[in-house]
């Protein structure tokens, strides 16, 4: 590489979280963004969205991760939630069969409502509750699992979910937000799967100093003067 110090192009990607209540949507994000986990976490309150950068070899993706804020509970997500989302994380709890049914519902909803070309990742969370919880489960491997082992809370086999994901063209991972297993991998895979062409106005170095830069002539920025505290650092 000629100049490793040259800043890479950077783009923002809106990622929406979907899935049944209590499958660990927020925990996955918390693990990804803060590398943290809270046991017995209360339902999500107070997080509109979180941001986290993901450094790829040729570019930087900045995820703007939108939490459902509980609006999924009674199927009350507004269209603005899906609008312009370039990626979605559909989470189920692999110890809870109904949560996969719900996940399939969300995938259908995304295919109906979201922009065509959205990158969807199906994620089976709570791998720590299964017998393959040592963090050795290779999702990309041959996919046979030991669901019937004693002491194993797994109710959804890797094979079943993986087959479904392949049929629908989804990325697929099994994760543990608790141990951190595979969490970063999910986001890196999504970042890699987003086609370069769909990235809007990739900002090169200096672009942020351009002042009032409107992407469209008539777009208005109501942004008043205020503090800016950029969140730096990356888990990728």
């Amino acid at each position: 590489m000629a100049d490793t110090n040259a800043p890479k192009p950077s783009s923002s990607v809106k990622l929406v979280l979907l899935g049944e209540a209590a499958v660990g949507k927020s925990s996955l994000v918390l693990r990804f963004v803060n590398n943290d986990f809270q046991e017995n976490k209360e339902p999500t309150i107070g997080a509109a969205f979180l941001t986290q950068k993901c450094n790829l070899p040729t570019r930087t993706i900045k995820f703007e991760i939108w939490d459902t804020a509980g609006q999924e509970r009674f199927a009350s997500l507004a269209p603005m939630y899906y609008r312009n989302a370039q990626a979605a994380l559909v989470v189920y709890d692999l110890t809870k069969p109904t949560s996969l049914i719900k996940a399939k519902h969300w995938v259908a909803e995304l295919q109906r409502q979201a922009s065509p070309g959205i990158v969807i990742a199906l994620v089976g969370n709570k791998l720590d509750l299964t017998s393959d919880s040592a963090g050795t489960a290779e999702v990309s491997g041959d996919g046979d699992d030991n669901a019937e082992d004693s002491g194993d809370a797994r109710k959804i086999s890797t094979e079943e979910a993986k087959t479904y994901a392949e049929e629908e063209g989804l990325l697929f991972f099994e994760t543990s937000a608790k141990t951190g297993h595979n969490v970063t991998e999910v986001f890196t895979a999504i970042a890699n799967a987003i086609p370069e062409t769909s990235l809007k106005s990739a900002r090169g170095p200096g672009a942020s100093h351009a002042g009032v830069s409107r992407t469209e002539e008539q777009r208005v920025n109501l942004n008043g003067p205020r503090d800016s505290h950029a969140k730096e650092g990356c888990a990728c």
């Binding site: 923002s12 209540a21 209590a22 339902p43 309150i45 107070g46 997080a47 509109a48 969205f49 979180l50 941001t51 900045k62 703007e64 939490d67 459902t68 804020a69 509980g70 609006q71 509970r73 009674f74 199927a75 009350s76 507004a78 269209p79 603005m80 939630y81 609008r83 109906r112 409502q113 809007k200 106005s201 900002r203 672009a207 942020s208 009032v212 830069s213 409107r214 992407t215 008539q218 777009r219 208005v220 920025n221 109501l222 942004n223 008043g224 800016s228 505290h229 950029a230 969140k231």
Partner: protein, 434 residues
Amino acid sequence: MAMGSVSDTLWDVVICGTGLQQSLLALSLSRSGKNILHIDPNDYYGGAEAAFNLQEAESWVDRLATEDKGFFRSASITKPDVAGLSFPRAYSLALAPQLIHARSELLSQLVSSRAYRQVEFLAVGSFYIFKAPSGPEQQPSLVRIPSTREDVFSTTAISAKAKRGLMKFLKFVLDYDRLEQRDVWKTFAGRPLVDFLQEHFKMDAELKTYIITLTLSLDGKITTEDGLSTIYRHLTSMGHFGPGFAALYPKWGGISEVAQVACRAGAVGGAVYMLGAGIKSMATATDEVELELTSGDMVKTKLLVRGNESVGDGPSISRLVAVVGVLYLTTMATSNSKEVLSRALESFLSAMDHDQVPQCLYQLYYEQAAGVKQSRLDELTIDLPGPSLSLSMDDLLLKHVREAWKKVASDTADDAEYMIFTDREPVDDDDELE
């Protein structure tokens, strides 16, 4: 809010309806720590300010044909036999396509509450007037209304004499509220603005039309007092958020966008949202209301806030939403307003491009009755006024929301802190431009 059933909680407030006012109330309470259940009988957000894709518009029209939907009537969809319509979800037709002037209190509140970050606004540049062809050889045209000093100087559309008259008027409006100036228009205050323009400024018919258009008054009968304040708002809004525009329009779905964003802020603050759940019956006890919801749930609340669904005594409007891009045409409802709007659409399209008149691909027509203008605050219930029919955001509605907020949060709220919130997460300045 725990994950139990909605029946297990004694709610501080149940808000029914997700129109603009109820949604702004949810936003205003989003940091109050109150237990809030926000419901809507419809399966979509926005109530009378909703935005629909073509499929949703069709179900809405179908439902209106069989059930009473309050303010709306005579809805119909026409699909001319021409190709070119995209898929139904590619469109968002707003029932409330209101402009928001840059100086509107709504925008200040969206900014101070930090909710604005999730709404995309488009600038509304100039206002134009349709000019019919003056002779057989002429073409119809759209004439821009000059509304700044620079505009007036550079326009070629009006005579030098008219320019002087217009300039004098604009200057007058800029401090119309000063004591000495008030004496000038006081006697006209309740009379039509047209009379004031005629008698005091000696304006000709064309100039009067320009000025009345700037007020966005549907029947042209706006009073001098209201008219002057509206034009004042227009002039002082010009350039407020950037050069060359006085008003904004929320991209995608008009006021529905603001409602959705406000509800999301409510949810982020812990409010529970249920669409498709209206109030089937209610019973009041001494200090709480028990509601039976159409979803089957029984809920108890200390206070119920809802929109007043009664039809008021104001005039109705007729609206035509035409898919050519998306155009919104509005007029006062009359026995032939549907034809009037159709002809207006044709005229407008012919003025856009004489050689290749754009084709309309889809039309949604409906009439909307005015709601009640006052709110009603009782011990256990608050009825907010009906939706506004004006073409631009009416800040008076915000006053009613604030009153409701005061009643809900009076024990803990500081009035000076109304709608002033900090960002929940750190934000980079450069990142919100996408």
